[in-house]
Amino acid sequence: MNKKKLWISLGGWFEERLGFQAVVDFLRKKKVPQNKHTIWTYTGSAVLLFFVIQVVTGIMLAFYYKPTLEEANKSVARIMTEIPLGWVIRSIHFWSSSFMIAVVFVHLLSIWVIKSYRKPRELTWMTGVFLLILTLAFGFTGYLLPWDDLSLSATKVGTDIPRSIPIIGVWLTKFLRGGEDVTGDTLTRFFSFHVCLLPLGLLFIIGIHVYLIQKLGMSLPLGADVEKERAKELPFWPNFVYREMIVWLIFLGILVSVAVFFPPSLGKVADLMAPAPEGIKPEWYFLFLFQTLKIFPAKILFMSGDTLAVFLILVEGILFFFLPLFDNKPAELKGRVITALAYLFIIYAVVMTVWSLIQ
């Protein structure tokens, strides 16, 4: 039997039992609109690309990383100096996390402005907000793992913030820290979050998010002529996927180049008893929140500035989660105001981040 016949019969054996031809047919039938918004549709798969890179490099790092108070910093130092090309793998993991979070923000803002969350896609938006929170949690928990002086201080500050939330705040801080204070238990707990809990949660919600996108199809711009748009659409497979591959290749090239020429360093091992080092800062994606907390005065009326700031951020977060339900008249003034809010948020975040950096 020649090779081609062998492949075909093997494929047929699996097809009879798995039925994946249905998936292939669906992907061929799935259409992607071609209009001025199409460029933003590349952000979704870019997030997935960086996530896959994180999983692969993360698993590799976990081969040598030891998540205990005594060994964490030493094991990262070993990865960077003894293990062949360990510093490259660590650098890619470090940079890919920043790239992933940056692309998540771009993805979110583009959906906000284009209003892709209009009915029936409200749940897609809401699962997306969960994905944003999980991604930021990945960044926050991963930052502690090298256990150097900067990351310890950043975690102390970061895990103190939920304390201001009414009712559940103190409990939440204790849950994150594994006690009252940041200790070796916090490190092991964060490691468990970072490699077990968060990946499971993320994969589950990505499943729902991607399913909803396939089921509901790609959205069209506000006020678009449906007939005209349908005529311009391209099949997802293979036309759009080839275009996505170009984007992936470019992102991959930029990531590897940056990782190879700007690898992260490792500070000296964290000392639980030492005073906070100067100039502690969270990662860049938290800077705008960090600066917001800083500008609130220590006391406003009867509440502490911190509590009010956290409360406001929380309220805004909840409103943000229910955004599709608020934006029920997207074409009218209300809708335009909500779009303007997106631009206002961008300006606010950039200004706060820059301010935080130059201080």
């Binding site: 130092a77 100096t81 062949p84 090239g253 490792l266």
Partner: protein
Amino acid sequence: MKMKGTKNSNKYLILGLLALWGINFIFLTYGFSQTTSSQEKIEQSLAQTKPEKIIPSPQNIKESTAIYVFVGWMWASIFILIYFLKLKIKESDRLFKLKFFSENK
């Protein structure tokens, strides 16, 4: 009109692929062989001092060159692959316009 490749066609394809792999292999062995020689040097320097901060960097001129070679090769490959992808995009768009894959023609 369907064109069928002859038996020889597979041979040339395989030879071509082997040549491509060969070029890549040369780059790999040259490039990454540079990094392993520096392991002992790093260990010695680490044992002597306990640095405040560990800043990773290539240890010698060979390793720095290897990094540039790798990054250059990677970008060259990326541009070539993007060129191929553009050809494939042109072709698949053309086929779609001709309704090559649709059920009712």
